[in-house]
Amino acid sequence: MSRLRGLWAEARPVVAVPLGAVVLAMIVASVVALLSSFFTEAGFDPSLPFKVFVGLFGGAFGGLDHIVNTLVNATPLVLAGLAVGFGFKAGLFNIGAQGQFLLGAVAAAGVGAALNEAPPPLAIGAAVSAGTLAGAAWGFIPGALKAWTGAHEVVTTIMLNFIGASLVAFLVLNLLQAPGFSFARTGDLGNAALPNAGFLSADLGRLHLGILLALLAVPAVWWLLYRSTIGFEVRTVGANPDAARYAGMRPGLLIIFTMTASGLLAGLAGATEILGTSHYMIASYGTSVGFDSIAVALLGRSHPVGILFAALLFGALRAGAGPMQLEAHVPSELVDVIQAVILLFLAADLIVRRLFRLRQAKRGIEAVETATETYGRKLVT
């Protein structure tokens, strides 16, 4: 018990604000739901917030298939969240996870379809590699631009998101379009599709290998950040670029490395999503993973473990949205409200601290401020 309390004392300064933001977002969502009930035929329903959260929770965790759904939704968020969080650690705001995700997705879809009759290990290996490499390349570009010319990564990654989306459309409509379908899409994956747990039970059919990859990526990124000299350099550049230069590190190279690694993770997210869940790519692939992952990284305080939990929360919200709409008759977009409000409270963390009277020990302030500094500064400039 006392050890548990010690652990909490250790974690509280870092965890308190994200937790508070989530709680506040749920309160705001409740109020929104209550207000919205005035305008429905059913009329004002004071118990609506309760129904909303019962619906959400049931939809996310109420049964094996629901839990699988949560995990499947969380998987790309874990990987892309790690991508954005890794960038934050170096003081870089990679808004380009969206584009890197799309490039990873289309590369995996294309290579997977081309090798759909190759032996599964080869087909999968090649498709996953193609996706990660494409994402990495799409991350390398803004990294190199920043290191060599000083172009700000926020600007270049936003532009590369548009270019990436157009490139995907071009590839799917031209080079990769498979014949025999009523719409433009890539070919069947065949042997390149990620294996799933469907052989155990029909409920587990969507539980694909990518989930395992995401779970492995969490300790891998943690190890890279906290147990390797490269991670130490990345974190030093992010926390104090002047000290990094003083210590003989090379910020330019580290920026390129970080953006490339970040793109690689986002590309991996795109690849696993295609190979495990979507199974083909279309010209106007709709996803918000690239942007949700920014919220995930912020909520997770850029720490791999925090990102895992934040991604699970967002995955659960996504999984629970449909069932909530059915049960509480509240539009599933309420989930977007919750996500957006979480982000707002994270950005304005002073509100959270005031409301919950979070008197921070010095240690905590530092930990929190480093994170705030990381994205706050980048948002402004």
Binding site: I230, A243, E366, T370
Partner: protein
Amino acid sequence: MDDETGALPEGAPALEMRRITKRYPGVLANDEIDLDVRPGEIHALLGENGAGKTTLVNILYGLAAPDEGEILLDGRPVRIASPSDAIAQGIGMVHQHFMLVPVLTVAENIILGDETMTGLVFVDRDEARRRIRALAQQFGFDIDPEARVETLSVGVQQRVEILKALYRQVRILVLDEPTAVLTPQETEEIFAVLRRLAAEGHSIIFISHKLYEVLSIADRITVIRRGKVVGSRVPAETSEEELAELMVGREVQLSVDRGESHPTEPILRVANLRVRDDRGREVVRDVGFEVRAGEILGIAGVAGNGQDELVQALTGLRRPSAGKVLMAGRDVTGASARHLGGAGLGYVPGDRQRFGLVLSFPLDDNLVLTSYHRQPFARGFVRDEAAIDAWAEKAIARFDIRAPSATVLESTLSGGNQQKTVVAREFSRDLKVLILDQPTRGLDVGSIEFIHKLTIAKRDAGAAILLVSAELDEVLELSDRIGVMYRGEIVSISDGSTANREEIGLLMATGGRESGEGATLERAG
């Protein structure tokens, strides 16, 4: 503001702080501190860093709220909740780091936040200028209200800060370490200003850790240690030794015994070095010197005369535009920081928080900041946590770093312990050359003593040490030879044992051009 204050009988305090107590988590920053300041008095607050001086004046200036205690002005209790309250009550503060806008003029800076308006929209600049001129004249300041602040010297900028307070009609002026950035001559000038202010009835609270300054300027000295007042003295009845002992709580050796140096062959040789700053201006001009193994070469100079760029060029942070740097016979001109570190260069940077440390990292990571990539702290690119832990424990013990554990964040340590972190790291390397840039800036007496002793020990162990400092006292105390840097040039190099404080001060201020004394010193070097 209140003309009657001058009429108060001598001794009735203008300001009284009674039983001020301030707790921070885990620290009692102020423990029932009593302080009274009389009209026309210069009252020095003396104490080590972290003793609670700054907390006390922050409470007075409304930057912190006391947990207990009260503040009385002219015998009336007042509540000061913010700096604007403080100013309204006639209390002004000049911070150690000036709060001026460089691109604005003196007048604009002074009226900023307290603008006299004509109508609702326009600032009455003429009225402001008139008042500033009158004030400057009254107190004998030689200041052009139309000059842009960035063109002024540090000493003049400080006077602008004082004027800013006087413009707001303060009667009690707090100065936080006002002489830290000044030359001896500028210090004398500012002292003259302060004496004049006091003669006009202003009360002055003067925070310092320089003992001889406190003795020369103050009417009374209050010494604070660990949040408590440990004594109050009148300069005539005390000495530097007594004050130091009060401050630190034990007997202190005020100046290290430098001993004889036994220099051998030159290790660091610099020839015809030219360096440009970020704006492309040549700020180091044709500088040449050598530092021999086993000696300390001190470079004195007012901050901003090219020392920063010189040090950056020698430590791989800036490429020189011309010239040569040789280390142990090898050409290292323009070599990277990593390369120089490997070749035996240790470097304690002047701005430890900006360059020397990562404050949001734990202590142990900071102790390996420049050696994390080397054996035994890393194998390949894998960190060896056990080796880092073991070294951290050793360094904490050997360099007396006061920290609850090796994993506390560097930002939670005091300035002295932060600097000891840097010193522990850099002094423990396999050194040929050691470059120290302001190694004791802002530190308490105890830490200064410790770092000075270590520096001498490193010298005697055969390191070639280059000490760059704007603190003339430090250069005089440690250096075997002293160079003076003025406008990018080393205008003289003289023998440390015969150097004269006033001559060096004059060289710092004028470069020796006008007086010709530089030539004498050059021969001495």
